[in-house]
């Protein structure tokens, strides 16, 4: 595959906290325009991998390139150029608590494009808020006044503020009710289709994996043990992957997915 089509390339990544080694020789490629699901047991370092890629965690060893640029020890002004091109949704939303939802969305735009007309800025923030499925009256609310699901949507609106090419989502559907989670999946998919996004999606939600992911990367034993479509992964015959996708929850997710397809076919 041509280098141009690989948005994120990780080679030989090693991360450790004191004695505890989280990653050792981890390799991963994320292709342009795909939704890559990242799964793994609790504590296998999914979030640490994301933090390494976006430069919040300096790895001990290894090479990480995003958009063809090495992001490990990057100069500050070069790092800003790359940060403009991605958006990150943290687990809890990580909204700035002293700003309203709409002001939160404006922060990245103001930071990177300080000369933008304030009226246009307000308009952009408005349609971003509505686009992520928040009610229009959520704009002037403070994060403390929002429910968990609304906080995630507001976080997504902020992550999408700059129309990024690459989107990092850390467990976006955790803690949402099934309807909210399904709506969030649909939203991610529709935004990805519309804006041609590449999505790096950390999740525990099997329904999300089946519904929206093009490929899934499995992290275990400190590295990515397999990447592929779910069918390819299941065919691999690895005990953990088997357990993960064929356990009771995995089977339920498959059933839901097939029921959905059947219905769509009947329509």
């Amino acid at each position: 595959m041509a280098d141009d089509d690989i948005v994120i390339r990780v080679r030989g990544l090693r991360n450790s906290f004191g004695e505890q080694v989280v990653h050792e020789g981890l390799d991963l490629d994320v292709r342009r325009g795909e939704i890559l699901g990242v799964v793994g047991g609790s504590g296998t370092g999914k979030s640490v991998l994301m933090r390494s890629i976006i430069g919040l965690q300096i790895p001990d060893e290894g090479e990480i390139t995003v958009f063809g640029e090495n992001t490990v020890d990057l100069e500050e002004n070069e790092a800003i150029e790359i940060r403009k091109r991605w958006g990150v949704l943290f687990q809890g939303g990580a909204l700035f608590s002293t700003l309203t939802v709409a002001e939160n969305v404006e922060v990245p735009i103001k930071e990177f494009y300080p000369n933008l007309d304030p009226a246009l800025l307000d308009e952009i923030a408005s349609y971003k808020v509505v686009m992520t499925g928040l009610p229009a009256d959520a704009g002037p609310k403070y994060p403390a006044e929002l429910s968990g699901g609304m906080r995630k949507r507001a976080g997504l609106a902020r992550a999408l503020a700059l129309d990024p090419e690459l989107l990092f989502l850390d467990e976006p559907t955790a803690g949402l009710d099934p309807i909210g989670a399904a709506a969030f999946d649909e939203l991610t998919l529709s935004l990805q289709r519309t804006m041609g996004l590449t999505v790096f999606l950390i999740t525990h939600d099997l329904d999300s994996l089946y519904a929206i992911c093009d490929r899934v990367a499995v992290i275990a034993d400190k590295k990515v043990i397999a990447v592929g479509t779910i069918d390819e992964l299941v065919a691999l015959d690895h005990p953990w992957i088997e357990e993960y996708f064929k356990g009771p929850r995995g089977r339920a997710a498959v059933a839901t997915q097939e029921a959905g397809k059947g219905k769509a076919g009947a329509d």
């Binding site: 403009k84 309203t100 952009i124 349609y127 509505v130 519309t194 804006m195």
Partner: protein, 371 residues
């Protein structure tokens, strides 16, 4: 790199032709130029554009809305993007609307007044609840199972008392030196340097030892009580305790209040002694009074009633500080920012109440004859 966004008008047909990349990074001043464009627009032609993002789509959407022009030259993806942006066009309020300044100031004064009264009533209520919890624990000594948390309390003793010895000692020693030095300078004018000993001895035993300790304990322990309990409130630990049947008042508040009540007199007495040692050092060096004489004079001029005054005030101060800290911690709700605000409030309230009470004590002890 993509070409900057631009447009050309074809004045005869009323068509605006866009070229370049219509994205946030390449938009430049196009929105302003578009707003200033007052020619007739009937058609918007996007055939020539390289890239379109939602912000570009939004700009075009607004233009089309303003002029009533139709848009052509969109491929399927761009059309989809347009539909999304169009669907999201709803009025959204960005900021909280504020009332005029005059009304706002009035409103804030009113709210602050009500808040202060509510806090005072709440604090009184909390004092009552703490007393009841103490009562329940005392009762459980005679009617088992015993509910007194011995380990938790002893651990608090260490945190509130033993760990504070270093900083309180240092502070008191320095304050002793400062009082003696200032006293010596002033009293020398009357040839009464020897009374520096009276000044240091009585002041530190009666007032400063306990007061400075109280301020230090409020800053160290009152704030940490508020922060600990506030964080536990946020992580729903306190709700979990309640559902299991453990009373947070008994498990969290009583050990902390008890620790402060027991430790304050000990720390206060220690502080007074160390302050006198500081004074002793200065008297020896600056005034040439040897330590033996200093100690003898202290025993003559500091009446035992001064020790009583200090030791009666200390536990009351300890209780006030601990109750204010725990009360503010319990008030934390919603978000992490509150923990910071409540911690500050706990220290301010604790120190304020200690100083108010100290004034009452001063008047009271003078009028009962302990002068």
């Amino acid at each position: 790199m993509s070409a900057p966004a631009a447009f050309t008008d074809d004045s005869a047909g009323g068509t605006l032709r866009f070229t370049g990349s219509l994205s946030l990074a390449n938009l430049g001043d196009m929105p302003e130029r578009l707003a200033a464009y007052d020619g007739k627009v009937e058609h918007i032609d996007l055939t020539g554009i390289e890239r379109l993002d939602t912000i570009g789509a939004w700009t075009i959407h607004r233009l089309a809305q303003r002029t009533g022009a139709d848009i052509k030259g969109l491929n399927a993806d761009a059309q989809h993007l347009f539909d999304q942006v169009q669907a999201a066009d709803q009025p959204v309020v960005i900021r909280v609307q504020h009332a005029p300044a005059f009304y706002r100031v009035l409103g804030e004064i009113g709210e602050a007044t009500i808040q202060t009264f509510k806090t005072m009533v709440g604090l009184l209520g909390f004092l009552g609840a703490t007393t009841l919890a103490f009562g329940a624990i005392l009762k459980s000594i005679f009617v088992p199972p015993r509910r007194f948390r011995f380990n938790a309390t002893v651990q608090r003793f260490e945190v509130v008392g033993v760990s504070a010895l270093g900083i309180i000692g240092l502070m008191s020693f320095l304050i002793g030196i400062v009082i003696a030095q200032q006293g010596a300078v002033q009293l020398r004018q009357f040839g009464a340097e020897v009374y520096t000993i009276n000044l240091v001895g009585r002041l530190s035993m009666r007032e400063l030892g306990v007061l400075m300790t109280a301020i230090m304990v409020a800053g160290r322990s009152g704030s940490s009580f508020a922060a600990q309990i506030g964080t536990m409130k946020l992580t729903e630990e306190i709700d979990a305790m309640r559902t299991i049947g453990v009373s947070p008042m008994e498990a969290l508040v009583v050990p902390r209040v008890l620790a402060a009540v027991v430790m304050m007199p000990l720390l206060g007495f220690y502080s007074a002694l160390v302050a006198m040692m500081g004074g002793c050092l200065l008297c020896w060096i600056a005034l040439g009074i040897p330590p033996v004489t200093y100690i003898q004079r202290i025993r003559e001029v500091v009446p035992i009633s001064d020790v009583y005054v200090g030791m009666i005030k200390a536990p009351v101060f300890g209780a006030i500080i601990a109750i204010a800290g725990c009360f503010q911690g319990m008030l934390v709700e919603a978000d992490a920012e509150q923990v910071g605000l409540r911690t500050t409030a706990a220290v301010v309230q604790g120190i304020f109440l200690v100083i108010v009470l100290d004034a009452f004590f001063a008047v009271f002890f003078s009028s009962v004859g302990w002068i």
